[in-house]
Every structure is written in structure tokens, then in C-alpha cells.
């Protein structure tokens, strides 16, 4: 071989290697995981990271489209509803990643295990209706292998059962995982589009597309053009580092906030915005003997605080105002309650001062309020600084502006939870919850019952009666009851709704949608690699 031929061959080999490398790179994407997962058991996980991995490795019976409509997934069709019984016919092609056919019996076993008390699934009550607690008695499951169908019979009707079945915790676990739940701790046992190829805890999780996967929602198969064949989840706790990785081209999908959001947004890449299904709200502790039991005090607090300013200062104006404890995107949201909100809790410091004066609170020469005995009206504000020190300062100044004496307790998250959940040593706080399910029923525990999460000790008989009716009815009737329930909370000054936080996922070289429009997760099924 002469020298020229040798050089030519080497060059050809080099180019070929480059082409192969480029080919490999084009089918692999790197996605940001903001934290390590807790457990890969989709029924049991209670973190959004757990959900993200669950929707990568598992299927659900139904899915949700971009408009919030229920569409087929593992179940190709269904009859009935959660009002009594729901029968779902399954896709016969579905096979678990370990090769086991996913027949009706396997699906029924997974559905039974999901709500079994021994499973300890924390959020399955949101699928089956009712408050948090034991769910085993709320339903039963039967199957017909020949017909390829499963039937869920509700012992307590729940109109939004189908929506609940689209949730990550309602993922279908394959027989190997049902038989041996220990396998689910760190390894998925699902029928989803990906199988776990490599796992390095706290560092990365490599998911490999299953070539046989043809039963995805929206008719998705892993052979679809642009479907990522390898999906690498990179655990990056620090948002600044995640932003750096994204800007350096080492991550394809990222979600960041604050100053890092501005940096990444400036790159003008693909972006998907979403709003929390839940909301943030201002609440006053109504424990017996506390000042918050006085409705005048509550209303003055609510009217003293501008939610628009709080959103600007704490969240860069990125949010959607709501008139209740769920976002305007949730089912049964009633815009008609805006007027009730304005009347009860809309920002109006002058009205706040007048309400306090009418209730007998006098303002001294120092501008501070005092009760009938001349004692200053002190509010213990507890916050953990999630929205930043400036937002907490805004709250303090707003309350002081109408005459309250504020005793701030800006603590870290543990101290915040301690006060809210256990000691009750607080008067004013802001609470925010972002459930993956767009149903008001997911949030009732924060405003009803004796659970620890009813932190403000709300006890509103009208609300309790109306949401109970809303849970057992469906459609417009259910929505009417929800509207009545939420109206009662506003009129009785139980809380001040603020806003639903906006969250953005950035993509480079990829396009995707949010899973079920939920801001905690993006959807691997809809993700496609696009040209540079």
C-alpha cells in the first residue's frame, strides 16, 4: 500500500467514524433531572422526579391530550364511568419490557395493588376520589382475559375516575413487579416506551427505546421519525449548573428559574410553558384563641396584600391569577367567582383599614393597631423564603401599612413545616401546592378535615357538603357543586387565592409537550429530535 493510499484510507475511516458518531448523537438526548428519585415504584413515589421516570418506563390505561381531553393509551376504548363501573378494553399488543404479555389479569392485578392499603400509595386517593387515607374499600377490579378487558367498580362514585387513571401513580406495573415489589425500588417493571439500560444513583439514568413498542398514546411508536432512541436523565441539583450544561450543549431539556431562567431564555431555544394545576394562597391560622378567628382581621389581611406585587417581586410576574385553590386550567374552574374574590379579598388597603376600624380596632399615634384592651395587634408571619427575601419583605410592609405589628419568622423549610404542621405557632403564611392532577378534589385536604395538612384549621360546613356532592356527581352538576364549595371559602374569608406559578421547560434539538399539561413533568412520548 503506498503512502497516499494509506492517508486516503485513514481519512475515510476518520470520516466514517465521525458519521457514525453523529448518527449516534442524533438519536440520544440528555434531559435534566432536578433531583434523585425516591423509588421507581410508580404507585408509591411521591416526587415529581419519580413521576418523570414512571412515565418513561410505564404506561397508563388512558392519557390526556393538550386540551385536557382523555384519549386512549393501553385501553383502546371504554364504557361506563366512575359513577358506578368503568370497563376498559385493552390493546392486545402491549408487552412488558421483560417480554411478559400485559393481559387483562396483569392489568387488573396492578389496579388492585395501586389502591391496596398495604401498598401505601400516597396519592392514589386522587384517582379514586375522597380524602387522603385508606383507598382499598373504595373500589374493586375484575377482568376478562378473553375479552381483554378490565372493569373498575366504584363503591363510592367518583366522576373524575378516568382523569385519575391518566395520572403517573396509576401506571400499570407488570406481573414481575406485582409478584415481587422489591424489584420496583430501583428498577422499573413496566410496558412503557423505554427500558432502563443503565442506572447510576444520583448521577444518570439511561433509558433505551424498546423497538417493539407500538401501543403508545396518540398512536406513538418508538420507530416514529425523530423519536429519541436513547434518553439520558442527568441528575443536576443545582439550577445554575443545569443552565450552564444546557448553554454548553450538554443537556437537551432543562427547567430552571430565577436568574438562570433569564440566561437560558436569552438563548431563544424551544420552550414550553405551563402553569401549576394547584395554586399559592395566603392563609390565616384559625386555631382557637388566635387572632385569625376574627373574620375582620382575616379580611383586612387579605385586602392589605397585593397579589400582583407579590407575583412580580417573588416570581418575576410569571404566574396566572386564580380565584380559588386550583389554577384556571383545572377542571370546573369558575371565572364567575372573580367578582366574589374581589369583594372578599381583592387588594384594597383603605378598605382594610376601614374594616379594622369598624371592628373596633383603634389606630394609635404610631400608626399601629390596638385591640379594645389597648394591646397591639401582632401577626406572626411564617415563611421559608421560597419566593425570596424581597417577597417576604413585601408581605411584612403590606401588613404594617394597614397597622398590624408583624413578627416575622423567616425560617428554613423544616422550621416552616414544623410551625405549620405541628406547633401551630403562626398567624399568617403563604402555602403553595402543585398536584399533577387538574382536579379540585386533589386539594380538599388543605381546607377540610382534621388532617395535618389543613394547616389553617379551616372548618366550613358548606364547603364540606358541596365538595362531597361534587365528588359523587359528574359533568356540569359536579362543576356546579365545586363552584358552590369554592364560593363558600371565599365568602367566609377562609383564604386569599393568589396565583398558579408558571414553569418553563427549554429544549434544544428537541421538541416536546408537558405530560398531562402538568408543570412537574415533560412527556417522553411526545418528544422528537428536530434538525439543528
Amino acid at each position: 500500500m503506498n503512502r497516499r493510499m494509506y492517508v486516503f484510507l485513514m481519512l475515510a475511516l476518520f470520516l466514517l467514524a465521525g458519521a457514525v458518531a453523529a448518527q449516534e448523537a442524533s438519536t440520544t438526548i440528555y434531559a435534566h433531572l432536578t433531583q434523585d428519585f425516591d423509588i421507581l415504584d410508580p404507585h408509591v413515589t411521591n416526587t415529581t422526579l419519580g413521576y418523570q421516570l414512571a412515565i418513561t418506563f410505564y404506561d397508563r390505561l388512558v392519557a390526556m391530550d393538550d386540551d385536557g381531553n382523555i384519549i386512549p393509551s393501553l385501553a383502546t376504548s371504554w364504557e361506563g364511568s366512575g359513577a358506578d363501573a368503568l370497563t376498559l378494553t385493552l390493546n392486545p399488543d402491549a408487552v412488558c419490557a421483560d417480554g411478559t404479555p400485559l393481559n387483562a389479569e396483569a392489568v387488573a392485578n396492578s389496579l388492585s395493588r395501586m389502591g391496596a392499603n398495604d401498598t401505601g400509595a400516597p396519592f392514589v386517593y386522587r384517582t379514586l376520589g375522597g380524602a387522603a387515607g385508606a383507598t382499598e374499600e373504595r373500589y374493586s377490579v375484575s377482568h376478562d382475559n378473553d375479552a381483554g378487558s378490565v372493569t373498575i367498580t366504584m363503591h363510592e362514585p367518583f366522576g373524575a375516575l378516568l382523569v385519575g387513571l391518566a395520572m403517573p401513580w396509576a401506571s400499570i406495573i407488570c406481573p414481575a413487579g406485582i409478584d415481587n415489589p422489591d424489584l420496583l425500588i430501583e428498577g422499573p417493571q413496566g410496558s412503557g416506551p423505554y427500558a432502563l439500560a443503565e442506572s447510576v444513583r444520583g448521577d444518570r439514568y439511561v433509558a433505551q427505546a424498546r423497538p417493539e413498542y407500538t401501543w403508545g398514546a396518540r398512536g406513538t411508536t418508538t420507530a416514529d421519525e425523530g423519536f429519541p432512541q436513547t434518553l439520558v436523565y442527568q441528575v443536576v441539583d443545582n439550577e445554575t449548573t443545569a443552565a450552564n450544561l444546557f448553554l454548553a450543549g450538554e443537556l437537551n431539556i432543562v427547567t430552571v428559574s430565577g436568574a438562570d431562567f433569564d440566561r437560558v431564555a436569552a438563548a431563544e431555544t424551544f420552550a414550553v410553558n405551563g402553569y401549576s394545576f394547584g395554586a399559592q394562597w395566603l392563609q390565616v391560622n384559625k386555631d382557637e384563641g388566635l387572632i385569625g378567628t376574627d373574620p375582620a382581621i382575616r379580611q383586612a389581611i387579605f385586602k392589605a396584600v397585593s397579589r400582583a406585587e407579590y407575583l412580580d417581586v417573588g416570581f418575576g410576574g410569571r404566574g396566572l391569577f386564580t380565584n380559588t385553590f386550583v389554577s384556571p386550567l383545572a377542571l370546573c374552574y369558575d371565572e364567575g367567582l372573580d367578582a366574589v374574590y374581589d369583594e372578599a379579598a381583592g387588594f384594597d388597603p383603605d378598605a382594610a383599614r376601614q374594616i379594622l376600624a369598624d371592628a373596633g380596632y383603634a389606630t394609635g399615634a404610631d400608626g399601629k393597631l390596638a385591640d379594645a384592651d389597648g394591646n397591639p395587634v401582632v401577626l406572626r408571619l411564617v415563611d421559608y423564603g421560597r419566593a425570596g427575601a424581597e417577597a417576604a419583605e413585601l408581605l411584612i410592609l403590606s401588613l404594617e401599612d394597614v397597622g398590624f405589628t408583624v413578627e416575622p419568622h423567616i425560617v428554613e423549610f423544616g422550621g416552616y413545616l414544623e410551625r405549620l404542621l405541628r406547633t401551630g405557632e403562626w398567624d399568617v403564611s403563604i402555602l403553595g401546592v402543585n398536584p399533577p392532577v387538574p382536579l379540585p378534589s386533589a386539594m380538599v385536604g388543605y381546607f377540610s378535615g382534621g388532617g395535618a395538612i389543613n394547616t389553617a384549621s379551616t372548618a366550613n360546613a358548606t364547603f364540606d357538603a358541596e365538595f362531597a356532592q361534587a365528588n359523587v356527581t359528574a359533568g356540569d352538576e359536579s362543576c356546579m357543586h365545586w363552584s358552590n364549595a369554592m364560593r363558600a371559602l371565599l365568602e367566609d374569608l377562609e383564604f386569599k387565592p393568589l396565583f398558579s406559578e408558571e414553569r418553563t421547560y427549554f429544549g434544544q434539538g428537541v421538541e416536546f409537550t408537558l405530560f398531562n399539561n402538568y408543570t412537574g413533568t415533560w412527556d417522553p412520548i411526545t418528544t422528537r429530535i428536530v434538525g439543528e
Binding site: 444520583g202 444518570r204 405541628r422 395535618a452
Partner: protein
Amino acid sequence: MTSSQALQRHSADSGTLARLTSRLGPWPRFLLKRAASLFVVLAMLLALTFLLIHLAPGDPAVRKAGIDASAEQIEFERKALGLDQPLPIQFIRYVQGVARLDFGTSFITKQSVTEILQQRFPRTFQLAGTGLLIVMTVSVPLGILVGALTREGRNRRLEVAFMSLTSTSSALPEFLTATFLAFIFAVTLNWLPVGTTQKSTAIILPAISVSLRPVASLARVVRLETLNVLAQDYIRTARSKRLPTYVIFTRHLLPNVLTAALTIGGLVFAGLLGGTVIVENVFAWPGLGQRVVDAVFNLDYPVIQGIVLYFGVIVVLINTAVDILLALVDPRTLVLSE
């Protein structure tokens, strides 16, 4: 027993110990004293890490049970964690657990802390070890070189430049260096990766970040030691004998300077381990530092306890090893420790 009797007994015991140790040679006496101080430090470390869970605000049972948990579930978790027991019982159980290398389970990831330590320490060790390599290979030659060039008031400009540069570098906190390096070399120039441990070059920026401060500090120490040695009579004697410069440097200067450098090197390694805590977060390096910061934000007490104890034990062991090494290299240390 009265207090005076107790005092007499204690004096008698101390006297017995003193008599016993006096019969031993200097090495056994030295090792015995080191072992005793090691025991005391480890006991204090155990007590401090145990108290961590009690002094930190927030209820670990609430953290473990989750925000949605009922009062019964929280109480169940409190019992499961043993927090319903008196403090001394809890401490005994903690010590027993540590003796079995059982540090508990992470509230967040449900992994055993021992498993976390096993998985992540090699990464931290890799980073700190690479950092130490950089420190020793850069600071020793640099310090000797600048020391030699600036001896006896020569090259004032070089001395000022060296002092300014090393002062600035040793004052830079690791997070600032790391963020700066990441922004310049990874994000802007795209020469090196920000994180992604799959790439072999991924360690370069984190290792430079953790080593910059100790490089500057050690280079100053080595320079001073070089100046000190070069001013010694035996060096003058060597020069007057017209020994070649490389012989003076390699046979007379280097061994003396290296003794000081190695002594500090052990302590530098302990410092590098601490430095990794922030740097690992900036570069998404999956070591113990990244994990402990994550645990602090999530109030994952068993992980915090386990990692703090682990780091503490390593630092204490390194310090002890340095003491022993010093005694081996320079037996005068044995006399000084008496």
C-alpha cells in the same frame, strides 16, 4: 466514694498510666497518645453528629412521613426513627448503628446511607486526589523556582507579582472560582464540559477549582521554606565547595522543602475534601459533597449525619497519619510530642 478519694484514685490511675507509658519506648508512647486523642476526637464527632438531628429545626418524623401524613403516620415514623426514646438510649443506638456501619436510610431516596457513601466517596476521592496531584505538582516547583529567583532580595517585581497572585488566589472561595471557570471555559468558549462525568475531560475544571486555593497557599509556604533553606550555612558551604546548582537543589534543598510540603499536603487533602462540597455542586460531580448539599436542602438528616461523620473520620485519620509520617521523617517530633 468522696470527692477527695475520687481525686486520689484518679491521681493514682494517672500515675499508674504515666509509669506504664514511661516504661515504653518513645514510639509506643507516641502511638498510644495519638490513639487516645484519636479516640477522644472520634467520640466528640459521634456526639456532635448525633446532636445534629436534635438541634436542627424541624421534625425529622414530619420530614420522613411527608407533608400529607396524618398525625398517626407522623407518630409511627417518630417511633420507627427511635425519636420517642430518651436521648441517652437514642445515642447508644446511634453508636451501635455506626459500629455496624449502619447510618440509616435516606428519607428522600430510600437508599441506605452506607450505600450512598460507597457509591459516592470514590468520586469525591477522585476529585480531591486529582486536586492534590495538581497542588503538589504545581506548588512545589513553583514555590522553589520563585524562592530561588527571589532569594536575598533579588527580582523584587517577580516577588510582588507572585505574592499578589497567590494572595488573590488563596482568598478566592471555591464556588467563585468554579463558577468563573465553568462560565469561561465551558459555557462561553466550549472547550471543556461543565459536568457529564462520562467524559474523561470532565474532571479538569472541578479539579482546578478545588486546587487553586491550596496551590497558592502551598506555593507561598514552599517559597518561604526555600528561602529559609537557601539561607542556611550548609547551603553556603555547598556553594563554597562549588557543587553544581542541580546537586544543591536536588540533594540539599528539595528534601528539606518536601518535608514541609508533604506535611502540609496531608492537611491540604483534608481541605480539598471540604472544598469538593461546593465544587461538586457547580459541576454536577456525583460525589459526597453534592449529596450532602442536596440532603441539607431536603433536611435528609440520616444522609447529613452519615456524610458529616464520614468526612470527619477521614480528616481525623489523615491528621493522625500526617503526625505519624512526620515522626517517621523527622524523629524530633517524637521528642516534641512528649
